[in-house]
Symmetry: C2
């Protein structure tokens, strides 16, 4: 199978929103009047972001999910994406699985594949995603204000828990691993929540490299500090019941490592004025996405962790950095 | 140097056209009213698109140039791009050179870097480029009509000539190799010509995989055929004087192989009604880009090559395909 047959078979469908899709030198997008186009790119590399033997359908899902997560963090509605794919060889079973996972998520979000590139080389997946947001309404990292509540959606740390098990660092019961692995391999981009938080959240970003590291970007961009209640965040790991029952097996800091610096959560971290608590609850309800209040923005710079009694927790939880 | 320092040092500059640039979850673009956004992605892989020891400054130029070439082919004005970069390690000399080449070309075209991704892995460069074109005015592949003239810009085949020499298949004098290598490593995206051809050309695309293969995409999209004068295309290789003088060294079909199926030319192939010859000449002049008429569109399907006497030329010049 040649390059063009491959594109035609696995990666070409008619477009409805875009003015022109796959098949010319460029795709053409026509944002509606008053709309800005939100754009984000994420690249996934074998051995770095996923194991060589990962289920290709899960990989197709995840490659698009991590990009949709960036749109969610800006409160943008998904429109379209491009896919650039470097493949060692044409493996039809792999392509069928990968494209099936990708299309299923794309269809769920009404997000159209409009173009891209296919080449031979080490497995590498680069998706650029496009969304629409009314001018001036995008959720940015820079809007957090002292006194704002800090929230996170969903659960934290299960992806890291699965990774540690898959790397052989820990052992988990099959059912616990299976659930955690779903979070690692099939993250849920929080697009409905991001849309519901327009005009409610004062700042937002997605948690991809670990909560503390990602939150520090909001704090830096907003020129503020924060305190986070680690008693609350520790309970946000979905496997918390198992971990409590098997506490002796884990280092006491292990749960903090997973929940505060785990990586691959793809939840939204956001801030909102305490005056908007009812609106945040409504956004959570209308988007069918749990959110938890985990701390408070302060004028004093820095990120402070406190326990259930408000006492400081010592920490040095590094965020993921590709080159450190 | 960590990931965020790297981005800050080499890949962050203030934006003027975009509503939001590097540093948040998404960039924000606001196309002007009535404008469509043209989008294209190209991925370059070490060992496939460039040699491991290529000058990083040339590589930075080329990675953006091949994307701008797609905008040129659509008649779109460059606005912005995202850069996703997978690097084996942080090599500051390499990053300095790569970013210098990239910024020089970006500045020349007023094209802003608005976002992207940085990760560790085998060297892979994926750029997605954004341009503006008035709604309905994009140059597409589907507009060629029987009787239209077929043109190509600039020169053809020198990039392939350089590649054959660098692979050790042929030997070239230093000065000939140096000039050909410039064409391979520092292609000139024909953006001004693409803009000048709006409303003039009936179809256009960029020549990246070889003239015949790429032209066949126009013919297929337009439902037409074509005849090409190989006497004319043979003279479009810039090294033609040297090749004539050293004719005995080369297979008689070598020049056809380079000019008709060479790859990496990044010229524009386009069609226009014979009634627009004066307008094509004016577009060539205003954009300071030579163009040559090389053939004619026909209603009869297929691609026919003829010699100076109009006699058929037998051919089987394959276009580049990553998986064949």
């Amino acid at each position: 199978m040649g390059e063009f047959d491959l594109i035609a078979r696995y990666f070409t469908r008619p477009v409805r929103k875009a003015a022109l899709g796959v098949g010319d030198d460029c795709a053409l997008l026509a944002p509606a009047p008053g709309m800005q186009l939100a754009v984000s790119s994420d690249m996934l590399v074998e051995g770095r972001h996923f194991f060589a033997d990962v289920d290709p359908e899960a990989l197709g899902h995840k490659a698009l999910a991590v990009n949709l997560s960036d749109l969610a963090a800006c409160g943008a509605r998904p429109l379209a994406f491009t896919l650039a794919l470097s493949l060692p060889r044409v493996d039809e079973a792999w392509l069928a699985g990968f494209s099936r996972g990708m299309w299923a998520l794309a269809d769920a979000h009404g997000c159209e594949l409009v173009g891209g590139d296919t080449t031979q080389g080490p497995l590498n997946i680069c998706i650029t995603v496009f969304g629409e947001v009314p001018a001036g309404q995008a959720l940015l990292r820079s809007g957090a204000r002292p006194g704002d509540d800090i929230y996170v959606s969903g659960t934290l740390g299960d992806a890291r828990l699965a990774l540690e098990a898959l790397l052989g660092h820990i052992t988990l019961p099959d059912d616990v691993l299976a659930r955690a692995r779903q979070r690692l391999e099939r993250p849920t981009p929080r697009v409905p929540l991001g849309l519901a938080l327009r005009g409610v959240a004062s700042s937002a970003m997605d948690v991809s490299d670990g909560l503390l590291g990602d939150l520090s970007h909001i704090l830096k961009a907003s020129g503020v500090g924060a305190s986070i209640d680690t008693h609350i965040t520790s309970n946000l790991i979905a496997a918390s019941a198992y971990i409590s029952s098997a506490r002796g097996q884990f280092d006491p800091n292990f749960v903090h490592q997973c929940t505060l610096a785990g990586g691959d959560d793809y939840e939204l971290a956001f801030t909102a004025s305490p005056a908007r608590r009812t609106a945040v609850a409504a956004a959570s309800h209308s988007s069918n996405t749990p959110v938890t209040r985990i701390g408070t923005v302060s004028a004093e710079p820095g990120l402070r962790l406190v326990d259930a009694q408000g006492q400081p927790v010592q920490h040095r939880y590094a965020s993921f950095d590709h080159f450190q």
